[in-house]
């Protein structure tokens, strides 16, 4: 009878394990859209000079990650605000990175030159990074703290004030 008992426990334990895992997954797999509190998926993308950069390079300091394209009017609108805030806060450790939405390099270069953007611009290809982030709208901006955790996600254009407020909270929490 003792042997039966341990078999009984084993069966229950295995079922609890499999069942628990399956049920647990049903909480997690509610789509691949990122939420505040998540860590963004890693990427490796080329900048305009053709040099590769990874997400890990930006760890340790707050980061604004902005997905944009020249075909999207609100993206074009908010670009000067991002540039302005980058200049204002970069000495405090703020990093701003713009990820272009898989357009041709010369398109991106022309636009960047015209606006006078000085923060790094990375080029997505084949919409891969965009998909990994589960992007639904353009532009989408991720405010990531020094620990690499997403604090806020904003879809749509940001004004200088809106960025300022969020950067202050990012730097404050670091």
């Amino acid at each position: 009878m003792r042997r039966h008992k341990s078999v009984q426990y084993l069966i229950l334990a295995v079922m609890l394990l499999i069942g628990g895992y399956a049920v647990g997954r049903s909480f997690a797999s509610s789509g691949d859209v990122l939420r505040p509190g998540d860590k963004p998926p890693s990427f490796r993308l080329a900048d305009l000079q053709g040099e590769a950069h990874t997400l890990e390079e930006y760890a340790g300091n707050p980061l604004i990650l902005n997905f944009w394209g020249t075909f999207c009017p609100p993206c074009r609108e908010e670009m000067p605000a991002l540039q302005q805030q980058y200049e204002a806060w970069k000495d405090k450790g703020l990093q701003v990175v713009g990820i272009n939405l898989s357009e041709d390099r010369h398109r991106v270069e022309n636009f960047i030159r015209r606006i006078g953007v000085s923060f790094p611009i990375l080029l997505d290809t084949n919409r891969r990074t965009e998909r990994a982030f589960g992007l639904r709208e353009y532009p989408t901006t991720y405010f990531i703290d020094a620990n690499g955790v997403i604090r806020q996600i904003v879809s749509g254009p940001l004004t200088i004030e809106e960025i300022d407020e969020r950067v202050k909270s990012l730097l404050g929490s670091a």
Partner: protein
């Protein structure tokens, strides 16, 4: 039933608590049952189930909960109702691109839709509570089966030949009557008759046990194993990465796209719609366009190098090619690409324009200009064209600045700087619209001004234009759980056949002082068993009407 039950039988066998019929001799243990003469309930051969034990602790209680058939029936009913609710409106997962589900359900199905979404029923089949129900059904299947199959197995493998008289005479099929001659010789002769009827027979002096098709008793448990395999396969599909994928890829002719989250790329060499010709159509449909076939000529590539290197183009190797038609997917190592949809979206793929020097009347070229990822420089005769900017869908923003409205080449425009003989050092800028309609709409010559006086870039014939009429949508699926789902289904079917097409028949007899007592039991088709017993008795010289063997007739 008394709380403390005497489980020791008069034959001397010590039975576990909950036993109905003595494990050894089959005598009814319950006093009330022993006093009556009703037909015995032979379920699980009267064995105690695993869960029937005194003083259950917490683990036992959990075990007992899942071992209950009543609980199993409730679980199945609740799951059925939940699954039915999940089909009232389409599930969220049925949509390819649903950005705001709440709004969608509200707009399309009104208040009911809003409530449906708010309750989470629009995601029924992925919800934690539905998965919990499935897991509980799985647990119930396993525990219900184990709780019954082990005692049953034990009972059937340790059967004693000589049974209690009450056990024999209270079976469904019973015969009691005198016999002539030696009891042991009669038993041996009857054993031979039963063997010829493919019974496995054991004798113990003047007692006999004949049995056939015992395996049919395992049918229900084989069904349960099949269902468990089935359930596990479905659960694993959602759990193990790479086991299940359901993605969509839209391709223009000639376009190549990466299949999301894989190292594979798919290229369309062209999408085609074939229509039925008039002589293939019945009279009333003649002259109408009826689709016969959708075909995407597709090539599948695998990335072999620089797959994650953003600074280089990935190196691709062709691994499969197929003309994808409805129900004829491209299939490669578990990856399947199905024809899913198409859209009429005329788009340029590339043009081969000619550069005309209006000053001399000379024309140069043609040169190849792809709409996607165009090269930056072009040598055309003595001239060099440098690409300064390109707009997949040309338009003007609110300030009148040229912008692209999308990433798709719907209205492509190219800004070249032409350099060469007789031109200033810095070159002459020239805006080129490959599509004639755009050229007129945006006024190419007006924008180019003086440059339009010197040059013209245009396509000379339709042969120099490559375009795509349709966007083909492919459904990319991976479902590695399917073989296991089929295995589970096959096992279930085997169990079903085992349990339904065969039935377990047993005959017990003993001869006491020249009186034969015979009892027989089956789980199905008692009529067949009665006929078989009557035929065997006839061969042994006892003529009896099969109907007269039915023990239940006494009750009515």
């Amino acid at each position: 039933m008394a709380l403390i039950q005497n489980t020791k039988c008069e034959c001397g066998h010590q039975n576990p608590v909950g036993t109905v019929l003595c494990e050894a001799c089959g005598k009814p243990l319950d006093e009330e049952l022993a006093a009556s003469d009703s037909v015995l309930e032979m379920r699980y051969d009267g064995m105690a189930r695993r869960s029937q034990k005194p003083h259950p602790n917490l683990i036992d209680r959990i075990w007992n909960f899942f071992s209950s058939v009543r609980v199993a029936v409730w679980l199945i009913l609740i799951t059925l109702v939940a699954a039915a609710l999940g089909t009232i409106f389409p599930q969220e997962s049925a949509f390819v691109n649903l950005t705001d589900p709440a709004a969608y359900y509200r707009e399309n199905y009104g208040t009911a839709g809003a409530i449906y979404h708010a309750l989470g029923l629009s995601r029924t089949f992925e919800s934690w509570w539905f998965i919990t129900l499935l897991v509980m059904i799985g647990a119930s299947l396993v525990i219900c089966s184990l709780d019954r199959v082990l005692p049953l197995y034990r009972a059937l493998t340790r059967q004693q030949v000589r049974k209690h008289l009450q056990f024999i005479t209270r079976q469904q099929v019973v015969y009691v009557g005198p016999i002539q001659g030696d009891a042991e010789a009669w038993t041996a002769r009857f054993a031979e008759i039963l063997r010829r009827k493919r019974y496995k027979v054991r004798t113990d002096g003047n007692a006999l046990l004949a049995e056939k098709n015992r395996f049919s008793r395992w049918g229900p448990y084989v069904i349960h194993i099949g269902l468990i395999v089935f359930l596990l396969a479905v659960l694993m599909r959602g759990v193990i990465p790479g086991w299940y994928m359901d993605e969509y890829v839209g391709l223009d002719d000639g376009e190549i796209e990466q299949i999301p989250r894989t190292g594979y790329f798919v290229k369309s060499l062209g999408f085609r719609i074939d229509f039925y010709s008039d002589d293939e159509l019945p009279e009333h449909l003649k002259g109408q366009l009826r689709v016969k076939q959708f075909t995407t000529k597709a090539v599948l590539y695998e990335c072999v190098a620089y797959c994650d290197d953003a600074t280089r183009e990935p190196e691709l190797k062709e691994v499969a090619a197929h003309d994808i038609r409805v129900n004829s997917p491209l299939s490669y190592r578990g990856l399947r690409l199905y024809q899913y949809d198409f859209a009429e979206a005329p788009r340029l793929i590339s043009v081969r324009p000619t550069l005309v020097d209006k000053r001399t009347g000379q024309s140069y070229g043609p040169f190849e200009l792809p709409m996607r990822h165009p090269p930056l420089t072009y040598s055309v005769g003595p001239f060099t064209l440098e690409l300064r900017d390109s707009f997949p869908e040309f338009g003007l923003d609110e300030n009148g600045e040229p912008v692209t409205l999308s990433r798709e080449p719907n209205a492509p425009a190219f800004v070249f700087v032409i350099k060469g003989p007789g031109l200033p050092e810095e070159g002459v800028p020239y805006l080129y619209f490959p599509r004639e309609a755009d050229r007129q709409r945006f006024g190419q010559d007006r924008i180019n001004g003086a440059a339009a006086e010197m040059f013209d870039i245009r396509v000379m014939s339709m042969e120099d234009v490559e375009f795509s009429t349709y966007t083909s949508y492919l459904n990319v699926r991976v479902d590695r759980g399917m073989p296991y789902v089929w295995t589970g289904a096959a096992i279930t079917m085997i169990g079903l056949v085992m349990g339904i097409y065969w039935n377990h028949r047993r005959i017990w007899l003993r001869i006491d002082d020249g009186v034969l007592s015979l009892g027989a039991h089956t789980n199905k088709n008692r009529f067949g068993l009665r006929a078989e017993v009557a035929a065997a008795l006839a061969k042994a010289g006892i003529e009896v009407d099969a109907k007269m063997l039915d023990n239940r007739r006494k009750e009515s």
